[in-house]
Amino acid sequence: MRHRDFVKFIFPSALAMLLFIAVPIVSVFVQSLYVEHDKVLVTVENCGPFGCQQETRVDPDATAALKAEEPLGQFNGLGTYLNRAHLATQEVGEILSDNDGFGDVARRIYNLPFYKALAFTLVYTFLVTPLSMIFGFMVALGVNTIPKAVKGPVIFLSLLPYIVTPLLGSLILFWMINSDGVIGATLQWVFADPTLSLKASPFLTWVTLIVYGTWHMTPFAFVVFYAGLQTLPQDTLESAMIDGANRWERIRYVVIPHLVPLATFVGLVLLMDNFRVFEPIIGFSSEANATSLSWSIYNDLNGQVDQLFGSAAATSVLTMIGVIVLLTPVLIRTWRDFNRKAR
């Protein structure tokens, strides 16, 4: 294809990505270096029947004028990154220099908002990804053995958790685990504990969110693995049988090796999607016990009084760095493959 044609064809798509993905990434980085203006204060003399008093007030007009003049705010350098709401270098330094052992360090660092969100995001990502792959694989094996007539409806029902809007799916489950809802009430009955609530303790909230994540993502792993099972080489399978491999050994030595390339693909997509976990935290109203990086950004942007653009941007940049770190192994591998092919 000639360069000229290529450019013409790719232009609309590239322009859209450039304007609304690449430029915003730069804009986020610039915003993260600035911080909101302080309120403009004026001192006025307030005279009443008991004499005059000096009073300091916010001057709303001057504040608005300053905001209109420099919408970005004032330059703050890396200050936002290092403050208590983000990397909290000073606080972490203090904790590390003065503490009562490892448990204490972990507990105190966990109380800093950024590390709290980071901890949940990482635990969620690295638990939900393997769990949904394992369950997806098991479901795929199951669906592969059932008669053809029921496969269609079974696949239909299995797809539902993945297709449904994440916020709505988590709301549906949230209403069910409510202590008045069917699952919540059943759990109370099973454990004979009328005060049991999945929302109260941080640990149970984490478990709930991870169960939700696995429920939501399993269908994706299932579908890909199921498609992989359709292309399973029957000859290899039969020769394994002749060699006396039982069903488990066949899965271990024939099926799983065949699915490994698919598993890397599924793992990559799941990592990317789980790292941005956001809607379930809103759906399950779990912000008291579990927050994620995406949720912190949303919370800063959705502030009741002021939108904290600087703070949101700093968290965004840190999140993007996290995404790049997650992707690096894949990118390196793709680069090697490409070079090998080119040679």
Partner: protein, 292 residues
């Protein structure tokens, strides 16, 4: 292959059981909520027994029948949910069609060129695909406020199209690669320009791929919360952010069934979609994987 070979009864029973448990886990919440949305709050969130949500005694006491449309009436009429339904329809239709136009052109170009820059564009798209949407939103807000384009449907549409592009061009790129190059080359030998070859020779055989990709663009626009919640003002809200803003008020007013009804109203179209396009969705989910 004969299913009797290597057949083992205990294993069949175990996989059968796993599958049964999974099906219940996957489908039960939806059927439960759809059924419950026709009850009153005292039944759906019953303090006595969850059997009430099935039989509905309080619904019968309060409304005279075992099923009630009160939740739907409250959501659609009183809270004007139809307004956000219309907005969602506009957004999803526009996003899907624009994404497909941009995506087919871009995906075609990427599949027919094997130069170094093709690789870099695809890698950049992969990285863009991985960016959490909310991080991009925090980049949009301030510039959009300054340009005075915040809050309108076209803004959200073009942003969703752009966010959709990396995924769309990856998927269409792999679909186009499965179409032999000879097809467009022979059309060009016959005197077509590159664009004519694309339109007259390639597009007619691309429809399955286009429909599959379109479904995923639709789902992305329909399911989006981060972009539409932050970039649309109160009047232009689509269904998902609208339901989220319901939540704040319904809890205090005791009208939580409005939210349940709205959630069911927004979920049922997805059920119908999966029912009709199950095969395309399955092939779409595996499209990226088969290429490896």
């Amino acid at each position: 292959m004969d299913r009797k070979i290597g057949y083992s009864r205990p294993l069949a029973i175990t996989t059968g059981l796993v599958l049964l448990v999974w099906l219940i886990l996957a489908a039960f919440p939806f059927f439960w909520t759809v059924w419950g949305s026709f009850k009153v709050q005292a039944d759906f969130f019953s303090r006595e027994s969850f059997w009430n949500a099935i039989t509905g005694p309080a619904t019968e006491r309060q409304t005279g029948g075992t099923f009630t449309l009160d939740g739907y009436r409250g959501a659609w009429v009183e809270r004007e949910f139809y307004h956000s339904v219309i907005n969602t329809a506009i957004v999803t239709v526009c996003v899907t069609s624009i994404s497909l136009v941009f995506g087919t052109l871009g995906g075609y170009a990427l599949s027919r060129s094997s130069r170094q820059y093709t690789f870099w564009i695809l890698i950049a798209a992969l990285v863009f695909r991985a960016m959490p949407h909310i991080t991009l939103v925090s980049g949009y807000l301030l510039p959009f406020f300054e340009m005075n384009i915040w809050g309108y449907l076209p803004t959200a549409i073009i942003v969703l199209v752009a966010i959709n592009q990396p995924f769309t061009i990856w998927m269409l790129h792999s679909f186009f690669q499965s179409i032999p190059k000879d097809l467009d080359e022979s059309a060009m030998v016959d005197g077509c320009t590159r664009f004519q070859a694309f339109r007259l020779a390639i597009m007619p055989v691309m429809w399955p791929g286009v429909i599959t990709t379109g479904l995923f663009s639709f789902l992305l626009a329909y399911n989006d919360f981060a972009v539409t919640a932050m970039l649309l003002n109160q009047d232009n809200q689509t269904m998902v952010p609208k339901i989220n803003s319901f939540l704040g008020t319904v809890q205090t007013e005791g009208t939580i069934m409005y939210a349940v009804a709205a959630v069911v109203s927004a979920t049922v179209p997805l059920f119908i979609l999966v029912m009709f396009f199950q095969r395309q969705i399955v092939s779409g989910l595996t499209a990226g994987a088969v290429k490896g």
